[in-house]
C-alpha cells in the first residue's frame, strides 16, 4: 500500500468548528522513522491536526494518508498503526494500571499469548512495574503520564503521536519523558506536538511552526534558527539609547532583526567576529553585553510577529 517513504501525508486539510477555522489548507509530510515536531501557541490547531491523523476527528476538506491508507476509507487500519497520547492522560480512574494496559491491549488486538509479557515489558520501560496493581486514581500526574505512554505503546505501533507529553509535569519527570521519547527515535515515526520550544529543539528532526491552522515554516531546528537569526543573538545594555542611530549601526557591520526593549538592544549576527566592531562603535555608551545562541522560541516569535496581521 505504501507508495513513498512518507509515513504521513497531509493534503489541503481543513477543519472548522462552527465558525472557527481550526485548520486551513494544511499540507505536511512526515517521513518514516522521522520525529517531527509541531510547535505553536494554544489554539494553533495542533491537537485538531493530530486528532484528524488519528481518525478521531473527521476533516471538512482535504485528505490524510497514513502508511498509504486514506483516513476516510481505512480508519481502523490507521488506528491500528498509531499509538496516541492525548494532551491529558484521560485514564479510567477505577482501573488498576495492569488492567488498563490489558484492556487497551485487547482493544488493539494484541494476541492474548503476548499481552502479559508486553505489559510487563512496558511497565518496566516506564518504571511502573511496582505500581502495576495500584489503581490509577492513586497516581500522581507524572505516573499517570507514564501509564498513558505505556498505553499508547501497548500494540507496538509504527507511528506514535504525542500531544503535549510534558505539559504540567515537574522538570524531573518532564526530562524523564523527553529521554524516553528520544529513546524511541529512529525505530518509530513520531509526531510531537508541543508548545515547549526547547523540547522540540532537543528532540525533533524537523519542526513545523503552526499558527492559526497554517504551517508558517518548517525545517530542521538548525535550519529554522539560522534562517531567522543567523548564528548568534547579541544583547547590549546601553546607558543612553537615544544616542544610537540604527542606520549608522547597520553600516558598521551586517546586522539583522534589530529590536529595542527599553535600554536593551537586540540584534542577530552571522559571525561572532562582528561583536568587537559593534562595541567599538557604541563606545562608552555600552553598559552590558550578552550573547546567546538563537532558540526555536526566538524563531517562533519572529515568525509569528512577521505575519501581516501582527505588523502595525
Amino acid at each position: 500500500m505504501r507508495s513513498s517513504t512518507n509515513m504521513i501525508e497531509i493534503k489541503s486539510l481543513t477543519k472548522r468548528f462552527g465558525k472557527i477555522v481550526a485548520l486551513q489548507q494544511l499540507n505536511l509530510d512526515i517521513k518514516k522513522g522521522e520525529l517531527l515536531g509541531i510547535i505553536g501557541p494554544n489554539g494553533a490547531g495542533k491537537t485538531t491536526a493530530i486528532r484528524i491523523i488519528s481518525c478521531i476527528l473527521h476533516p471538512d476538506e482535504g485528505d490524510v494518508l497514513v502508511g498509504g491508507y486514506h483516513i476516510g476509507q481505512n480508519p481502523l487500519e490507521i488506528k491500528s498503526m498509531i499509538g496516541y497520547l492525548p494532551e491529558e492522560p484521560n485514564l479510567y480512574e477505577r482501573f488498576k494500571a495492569y488492567d488498563l494496559l490489558k484492556y487497551f491491549g485487547e482493544l488493539y488486538g494484541v494476541p492474548k499469548e503476548d499481552l502479559d509479557s508486553r505489559i510487563e515489558e512496558l511497565l518496566e520501560l516506564v518504571g511502573m512495574k511496582h505500581r502495576a496493581q495500584h489503581r490509577i486514581n492513586t497516581f500522581s500526574k507524572g505516573l499517570r503520564q507514564r501509564i498513558a505512554i505505556a498505553r499508547a505503546l501497548i500494540h507496538d505501533p509504527e507511528i506514535i503521536i504525542f500531544d503535549e507529553p510534558t505539559m504540567g509535569l515537574d522538570p524531573a519527570t518532564a526530562m524523564n519523558i523527553r529521554e524516553f521519547i528520544a529513546g524511541l527515535k529512529g525505530d518509530k515515526t513520531i509526531l510531537l506536538c508541543t508548545h515547549y520550544m526547547d523540547e522540540a529543539d532537543l528532540l525533533c528532526d524537523r519542526v513545523a511552526i503552526l499558527n492559526q491552522g497554517q504551517i508558517l515554516d518548517m525545517g530542521t531546528p538548525h535550519e529554522l534558527k539560522s534562517k531567522i537569526h543567523g548564528d548568534i543573538i547579541l544583547n547590549i545594555g546601553l546607558k543612553d539609547p537615544s544616542l544610537i542611530e540604527i542606520s549608522t549601526l547597520e553600516q558598521v557591520c551586517p546586522v539583522e532583526n534589530i529590536a529595542w526593549q527599553k535600554d536593551q538592544l537586540y540584534m542577530s549576527l552571522s559571525s561572532r567576529e562582528d561583536i568587537a566592531s559593534i562595541v567599538e562603535f557604541l563606545g562608552s555608551n555600552v553598559q552590558s553585553i550578552h550573547t546567546k545562541e538563537p532558540t526555536l522560541e526566538d524563531v517562533f516569535i519572529q515568525t509569528v510577529s512577521n505575519l501581516p496581521e501582527n505588523i502595525e
Binding site: 468548528f17 462552527g18 486528532r51 488519528s54 481518525c55 478521531i56 476527528l57 473527521h58 481502523l76 487500519e77 488506528k79 491500528s80 498509531i82 496516541y84 492525548p86 491529558e88 484521560n90 485514564l91 479510567y92 480512574e93 477505577r94 482501573f95 484492556y103 487497551f104 485487547e106 482493544l107 488493539y108 488486538g109 498505553r151
Partner: protein
C-alpha cells in the same frame, strides 16, 4: 470482537465497583420490601375486616329500630348504619339521652292490609343536634323505598301468579378474582417484573456521558474499533446487568409466591423490552453534555416509556381498548397468567420492540459518530434533528 471486549470490561468494571454492588443489592432489598408490603395489602383485602384506603362510612351512625316484621330493617345497610332492634320505649329513651342518632318505628303488615291496599305505618325520629342525621335520614329513606318496592312486587304477584321456573336464574360468580383484584395482582406483578429495566439508566449515562465528561472518549475513539461497536458494546453491558437483576427479581418473586407461570418466557419478554429502553436512554446519553442534563432527559423519557408499557396493560386488564397488545407488559401478563395468546399478541409488541430498537440504536450511533457531539460545539436540538433527517446536509 472489539464490541465484546468493551462489553466485557464495562461489566468487569461495573461488577467490581463497590458502589454499584451496594446499589444492586439495595434494589433487591427494595423488591423484597415491596413484596412484603404487597402481600400484607392482599392479606388485608382477603380478610373479613378488609382494608380501607379511602374514608369509610362503616357503621357511621346508630339507629334503633322497632320493626317486629323486619320489613324496613332488613333493607337497611348495616355497613353504614349500626342497627339495633329495641322496644319503642327503650328506643325513645336512648334517643332522648343522645345515645342514638335516630329511631325508626314500623307498624305491622298482614295479608288483609295488602289486599285492601292499606299503607304501611312508619315513624322516623331523629336527633336534630346530631350532624350525622342526614346520613340516617337518607339511608332510612332508601330502605323504605326498597321495602315499598318489595311489598308492591309481592302484591302484584298475589294478583298474577308467576311461575318461578320462568324467572331468570342469576348465579353469582364465585370463582376468579374481582376486577379490582385482577388489576392489583396482575399489574403489580407486571410492574415488579419490568421495574429493573428502569434502574440502570445511570449505567448508560456513565458509559456514554461519563466518557465525554472524563474525556476518556477520545482514547476510546482512537482504538481500532468502529464507533458503532463502541456504542453497542456499552449498551450490551447494561442489558446484561439488567438481565442479571431481572433474573434475581423473578426468582425472588417466585419464592414469594407470585403467580408466575412460564417464568422463562416472561423473563425473555422482559429482557427483549430492555433492548429498546437502553437504546432510547443511549440517545439521550449520547446527546447530553453532562450527567445532570442526561438525568433530566432520562426522567422525561422514562415517564413516556412507562406510559407506553403500562397503559395498554391496564386497558387489557380492565378489558378495554383496541391496542392493548402493543405493550410487552400486556404480553407478559398474558404469559404469566396463562391466558389465550394469538399470533397478533406476539407479533405486534415484538415488531414494535424491533422497530424502536433499530431507530434508537441507529440514532445513537449516528450521534456518536459526530465530532460535534463528542468534542463540541454541540448543535442545537432542532438543527440536529434537521440534519439527522437529512433535510439539510451535515
Amino acid at each position: 470482537m472489539g464490541s465484546w471486549t468493551i462489553t466485557k470490561w464495562e461489566l468487569k468494571g461495573t461488577l467490581q465497583s463497590k458502589k454499584f454492588l451496594l446499589i444492586f443489592f439495595f434494589q433487591l432489598m427494595v423488591l423484597v420490601g415491596m413484596i412484603i408490603f404487597f402481600n400484607g395489602f392482599m392479606a388485608s383485602i382477603e380478610s373479613q375486616q378488609g382494608l380501607t384506603l379511602s374514608p369509610s362510612l362503616n357503621q357511621f351512625a346508630s339507629v334503633e329500630v322497632v320493626d317486629p316484621q323486619s320489613i324496613i330493617k332488613n333493607q337497611m345497610n348495616p355497613q353504614i348504619l349500626e342497627i339495633t332492634p329495641n322496644t319503642k320505649d327503650g328506643a325513645l329513651n336512648n334517643l332522648n339521652r343522645g345515645a342514638v342518632t335516630g329511631v325508626l318505628i314500623v307498624g305491622t303488615l298482614n295479608n288483609s292490609d295488602l289486599a285492601n291496599i292499606q299503607p304501611l305505618q312508619a315513624e322516623m325520629l331523629i336527633d336534630y343536634s346530631d350532624p350525622k342525621r342526614s346520613v340516617v335520614r337518607y339511608e332510612v329513606q332508601m330502605a323504605h323505598d326498597k321495602a315499598a318496592y318489595l311489598i308492591s312486587q309481592q302484591w302484584m304477584n298475589s294478583l298474577v301468579p308467576v311461575e318461578t321456573a320462568n324467572e331468570p336464574q342469576i348465579q353469582q360468580e364465585t370463582q376468579g378474582e374481582s376486577l379490582p383484584l385482577q388489576l392489583i395482582t396482575k399489574i403489580m406483578t407486571a410492574i415488579l417484573l419490568f421495574l429493573p429495566l428502569f434502574l440502570f439508566g445511570n449505567m448508560v449515562i456513565d458509559s456514554l456521558v461519563g466518557e465525554k465528561e472524563r474525556r476518556t472518549a477520545e482514547i476510546l475513539i482512537a482504538m481500532p474499533i468502529s464507533r458503532s461497536y463502541i456504542v453497542l458494546g456499552k449498551c450490551l453491558a447494561v442489558i446484561i446487568t439488567m438481565a442479571l437483576q431481572s433474573a434475581l427479581w423473578i426468582m425472588i418473586m417466585i419464592m414469594a409466591g407470585f403467580p408466575l407461570e412460564n417464568p422463562f418466557l416472561v423473563y425473555l419478554i422482559v429482557i427483549l423490552t430492555a433492548v429498546p429502553i437502553v437504546g432510547l436512554t443511549a440517545i439521550i446519553a449520547a446527546y447530553s453534555k453532562n450527567y445532570k442534563e442526561a438525568g433530566i432527559g432520562i426522567s422525561f423519557a422514562y415517564i413516556a416509556i412507562v406510559g407506553f408499557l403500562i397503559v395498554p396493560a391496564l386497558a387489557y386488564v380492565s378489558q378495554q381498548g383496541k391496542y392493548v397488545s402493543m405493550s410487552t407488559m400486556t404480553l407478559a401478563i398474558k404469559v404469566f397468567s396463562q391466558e389465550a395468546i394469538s399470533w397478533g399478541d406476539i407479533i405486534l409488541p415484538l415488531a414494535l420492540l424491533l422497530l424502536i430498537s433499530i431507530i434508537s440504536y441507529g440514532i445513537t450511533i449516528r450521534l456518536y459518530k459526530r465530532d460535534d457531539i463528542i468534542f463540541g460545539p454541540r448543535p442545537g436540538l432542532l438543527k440536529l434533528i434537521i440534519e439527522l433527517l437529512g433535510i439539510k446536509k451535515v
